[in-house]
Symmetry: C2
Subunit: 330 residues, 2 copies
């Protein structure tokens, strides 16, 4: 069996990557259609599936599609999801529009594919959540995770292709002694770190930080799990890194945790410090697996605590790959 697939937002960083991942994973595509804003409609895009003419996303007829990947914006998803699902089309939504809706499953397939049930609309988690989720859940199942404290090192790709271009251009300006500016980010990102991603909430956390709290709880079905997060944008291209400390119910030791994580699908254990092997953005780039390393006994929580470092491609496991993995489960 094969499927008629539509990509809404095919010209964006995530949309483009979904096309690559569908091809790379031999997803059974009967026909691929690409949609974007009216501005891009009519243009022809080179893809591994051949040349495809881009159509206007606002005018899509979902009765002609089995699965649609939504990767335009939260507002656009909100306006168009019902139209698609009521026409019988599955929607895998990359935005945050439906993630916190109790009636919409939020899915990392390795963890909670069963949550999909008979829902036609499935939400794809935020990149920061998705990258930490598999190692965290693996440890949670075995040791019971009570507390999670995360600090992130997030790439400019989180703000799309425009974010990456801004980093490149403004870094060049800096090196040439020209004025360094910013449009996509709140401040110049070249040689800087900005502790501000998405909007500030009433509790003074950013929405990006709270997404990790809300989404991890929902994916793990642990509505009371104790989690905090500080999200920081740094001048890297497309991999988010996360420094994670956990306290566990049961005692845990790093050797057992490494053994456990070494056999988990979706994780590449990179933990051989004697040979300088640990996760890094430049090695995790364009990799499906999330790199996990620097696993050690946390000094604060003692034998009930671990500390580790995770790097995952924000566009892949953080977006396009997870979306295609959801499609594979339908």
């Amino acid at each position: 069996m094969s499927y008629k697939v539509g990509i809404m937002g095919a010209t964006g960083a995530v949309g483009r990557e979904i096309i690559e991942v569908l091809h790379d994973r031999n997803f059974p595509v009967e026909k691929l259609r690409l949609f974007a804003s009216v501005r891009s409609a009519g243009k022809v895009m080179e893809t591994p599936f051949g040349e495809i003419t881009i159509e206007n996303a606002d005018e899509a007829d979902y009765s002609e599609m089995d699965i649609a990947f939504f990767a335009i914006s939260g507002g656009w998803s909100q306006e168009n999801a019902e139209k698609a699902t009521s026409a019988g089309c599955y929607v895998i939504d990359n935005s945050s529009a439906f993630r916190y809706d109790d009636n919409v499953p939020l899915v990392v397939p390795e963890i909670n594919a069963n949550a999909i049930g008979d829902s036609k609309l499935i939400a794809n988690p935020n990149c920061t959540t998705a990258i930490a989720a598999i190692p965290l859940y693996t440890l949670h199942k075995e040791y019971g995770v009570k507390k999670v404290i995360i600090s992130t090192y997030q790439a400019t790709s989180g703000a799309g292709a425009a974010g990456m271009s801004e980093l490149t251009e403004e870094t060049r300006n800096y090196l040439e002694g020209k004025e360094v500016g910013n449009k996509v980010f709140a401040y110049p990102i070249a040689f800087n770190a900005i502790p501000h991603i998405d909007s500030f909430q009433e509790n003074d956390y950013t929405r990006e930080e709270m997404k990790v709290v809300w989404e991890t709880r929902k994916i793990f079905s642990e509505p009371d799990m104790s989690i905090s997060c500080t999200c920081v944008r740094i001048p890297t291209m497309r991999v988010h890194a996360e420094s994670i400390v956990i306290e566990t119910e049961k005692p845990v030791n790093p050797a057992d945790a490494k053994k456990l994580l070494s056999s988990v699908e979706g994780v590449e254990l990179k933990d051989d410090i004697a040979n300088n092997v640990y996760p890094m953005p430049i090695t995790a780039t364009k990799k499906y697996d999330v790199e996990v390393g620097r696993i050690r006994q946390n000094l604060v929580f003692g034998d009930h605590g671990l500390e580790f470092f995770v790097c995952g491609d924000q566009i892949l496991k953080g977006a396009a790959l997870n979306a295609v993995q959801i499609a594979e489960k339908l």
Copy 2:
């Protein structure tokens, strides 16, 4: 009264900055002498104190100096400190050679100037420790800090002028499509994040991470304080940022903590999220004060927990400024 001052390692990033700070703070310098390796001896250096000819550090006569700043290396300090102090010269050592020696005071003047006593040798803390110390100690005195969990975002200046040059050159190579290499850092630092600073220890933490634990305990006179740290090098120039979570003995609320920190010497409160005001490397660069912001109630430790973000100039409060502040207390 004024002093005969020597700077050992005057051509390095920290040595150069000590000269600037001495001048900027009107330190009572009777005569300034500059020392470096035999390679630099004889060269003339432009300084705010006039042109000074560099002398060979290995042949310094310490009986001619009142205070010597050591900023060459740990090994060099180990070999030369006794010679200096026994000649009656105060030594302020920027290396880690004596920091963990029970007989040598380790000093952040705003916190434990009294620890100097009649010691002729005083150790200057590691940059990562010094930058977090003042806000942490301020909160500790008021609320009693039980647990500290830190993740750092450290600048290339931590590896000296060579580290900053490598970032600049390799970033340029990257942007020009050339091969990106590394000499100073374990891996290419351009558009990367490296969770590895200094050597790995038996407990799988790096020495840089353990320095924060050992030194904070010593400076605070709290030998059992529960602290853990993950140190990460990122592609910034000269400011270290730190994401810090604390659990306190007494209940704490962010409004009170902000009020408290706003009046502390050495801290600039930058916490007005409604106007996008928070600490960042580009704003903390070349600033004496450490920027503190993003102060909020930590979600894991609840009303006994805070989470905040700190940025401090690694070469100033993290090295040269703190060293000169120690000299001011002698």
